[in-house]
């Protein structure tokens, strides 16, 4: 997370995107650095038959879509506002000026990429190894430990719909519903008024 004041110093703008708006699409060339001010933004892909896969969900303070700024590639996914959102965005050239002026922030940026790579490494291996229940637990544990930094049994209230869990794990809603129920029976998680706790 880069302080907003600093971003603004370098010429960043805060832009509002109503729920459902696309900020950029898969295949677009990356022109800006983005950081969520308020609301939630997701990055996703749609496969041939319209099924969604969510690469990540980004909340207040989190940046997204940086890799293509560094690597010479196009966006591998779309970005879409999940709720009405405000996003601070800074043009690529200015972003690099900022990094050059602040090596510590560059290092934190690298750290962010490294963490995301860690998550993807886990998910890709997990998804490939099948077993819906395992996949679901893994993503919940990842969110609990690394994103929300919560400890304690059932202390983490999962603020995701079954559909979102499905789209993050590459499963179907029905499978997620059945698997979460089965996991509850096994004592791996709790379901209270339809919300999942882990």
């Amino acid at each position: 997370m880069i302080p907003e004041s600093l971003l603004l110093d370098f010429g960043a703008k805060i832009i509002s995107y109503p729920k459902g708006t696309q900020l950029f699409r898969e295949g677009d060339t990356a022109l800006n650095f983005y950081q969520v001010v308020s609301g939630e933004v997701k990055m996703n892909n749609y496969n041939l038959d319209g099924k969604e896969f969510i690469q990540g969900i980004f909340a207040s303070g989190q940046s997204f879509g940086e890799p293509p700024l560094f690597a010479d590639v196009k966006y591998p996914a779309n970005a879409e506002a999940i709720t009405d959102s405000e996003v601070i965005q800074l043009h690529k050239s200015q972003f690099f000026a900022l990094l050059a002026a602040h090596p510590d922030i560059h290092l934190r940026m690298t750290e962010t990429l490294a963490k995301r790579l860690f998550y993807k490494a886990i998910m890709v291996s997990e998804i490939s190894s099948q077993e819906p229940e395992h996949r679901i637990l893994r993503i919940l544990d990842y969110l609990k430990k690394h994103v929300h930094k919560i400890e304690g049994k059932f202390a983490f209230k999962v603020d995701l719909t079954r559909q979102q869990i499905a789209d993050l794990t590459g499963l179907r809603v029905e499978t997620v519903i059945r698997a979460t129920k089965s996991l509850e029976k096994k004592g791996e998680l709790k379901i209270k008024s339809r919300k999942v706790y882990r």
Copy 2:
């Protein structure tokens, strides 16, 4: 890729690992920066029933296992020498000294992470969307375009066994064999004396 001479200046050592040796294991704390001098190293996971998933294969000049140096996490996978290999390794503290002294190299490092993230983003979405043939084509196209930078139909000779393709895509050997044959029939790739061309 960081010049070997520079790494050596900062105290790096070149170490030989015979085929099959593990350099580090999933869950280990990251202590060194690694770069392949000769041979090939893979990073992989084994799931509960022993099935392998290959996170990546690294050849001469490529570095691996850096993310946990930056992010405060353990290795998400093992590293193992595929062939007899020489690897140059530099202790974490010295590695950071090197980066601080050479911002341009730090930027290239960030670029490397960004590219790898790009690959993982593609793979995770692709693997989740099922359809073996699609998955296989995707990884082949990725390797062709981004790793080997080859153009032209069937100009890319895939130097991977069916088993390795399977382990990279999360499929089974038999499925890969059947799918590649089917893809050949469809004209998407060629098989000449058992080697796949794309």
